[in-house]
Point group: C2
Amino acid sequence: MDIVLLGSGNVATHLGRALVDAGYRIMQVYSPTQAHAAALAGTVNAQAIDDVTGIATNADLYIIAVKDDVLAQVVAQLPVSLKGMVVHTAGSVAMDVLAGHAGKYGVLYPVQTFSKAKAVDFSVVPIAVEASDPITYTALAGLAGNLSNRVFPCDSKQRLSLHVAAVFACNFSNHLYAIGADILREHGLDFDLIRPLILETAEKVMVHQPKDVQTGPAVRHDIGTMQKHLVLLEDEAELAELYKTLSERIGKDA
Amino acid sequence: MDIVLLGSGNVATHLGRALVDAGYRIMQVYSPTQAHAAALAGTVNAQAIDDVTGIATNADLYIIAVKDDVLAQVVAQLPVSLKGMVVHTAGSVAMDVLAGHAGKYGVLYPVQTFSKAKAVDFSVVPIAVEASDPITYTALAGLAGNLSNRVFPCDSKQRLSLHVAAVFACNFSNHLYAIGADILREHGLDFDLIRPLILETAEKVMVHQPKDVQTGPAVRHDIGTMQKHLVLLEDEAELAELYKTLSERIGKDA
């Protein structure tokens, strides 16, 4: 199967490498920035292009792995004559964005956060698959199954909910880590002191449901401790408010 | 060094085992519930007692490892004649709670979350140490150094800030995992789908500062995606509000 990869960011990079490792051929890598296209094309042995109108029209599959908010713009530039399947990789964009631009289309959404600097074992990354028709679904799920052991069907609404869940559990958690780092710095302490605790907290939910392993003063209804924490935060009204909101939610669940 | 351990919960259990592994003798384990005292006493080869007035008065060290909100109550029951050092293990309680109850006193606060079911490698758990005087500090830091490679001095105010930082980074993150699980369940998806993402998010900050690895629509100022997420949350006003608060904070940092 010959593939054209549109995008050169973290998802495109990790997906492109995983595809090559699985024996697929990447014909071209597109990026509006030629240097970015060339950097990824070099590692996957493909041609680098910086103009969408220059893409090969005889590929079997076009994978658009660009930021969610520029996806529609890239789709609009696609040649109308494409016979291959066209898919995107975005969590928050409905499959329909591709309707009218290709006969066979779909979505391959890898549920993971990718950094260029860090290798990811794609075989354990869940991949959400959606397709315009059953034959295309079979083709896409087959390809995804060659990359990962965790392929599952997921419609556009479910995928959006998955994206929202990931924002809460991951993007927002990372921000809470940042708040922790800020509080420590203000008191002359290093973020490194809570790193083991952060990792342990994440590892616990690998085998438990989060509600079953909730700890801390809020779940114990330990009002005295929460009051001391709020005194410490008294000069930071926004943080104190966030502390109260989250503690109340945890207290209600308990 | 002969030790009396007051408490039979997660901290007492892990700390007691680590002390025995490091060659210390636990003379007694106290819990108001005899069965709890007996359970831990059995694993550390100590006597179980359920009455504070029955504690040995000739121990070198008394470790009070009980919930923060019952600590003062246990302290108040201590015999007045204790010659040994008395310490507590609470993050949110100032060392002064022990003043007047012992000549030499201090705090050993292990910065980790403990579950009875899960073994913890104590050698990498940071231990915050505070003491009433330099000689006691040296004794406590020496003991802590036999359990862990990460012992550091930490006064009561700093320890409270460490506790607040841990609540944000860990207790509240766990609640965000729970929110993610709820959203997935409502859309017929399994929490297991975001487990790899949660672990990766935590692992990233083991080597980076959280602000340097923030991802998601808020840090990209991707208003379109955030809008779609808020539409998905439109029936859950409280969650939508939390989404907005956290996204705004992330956006301001970016």
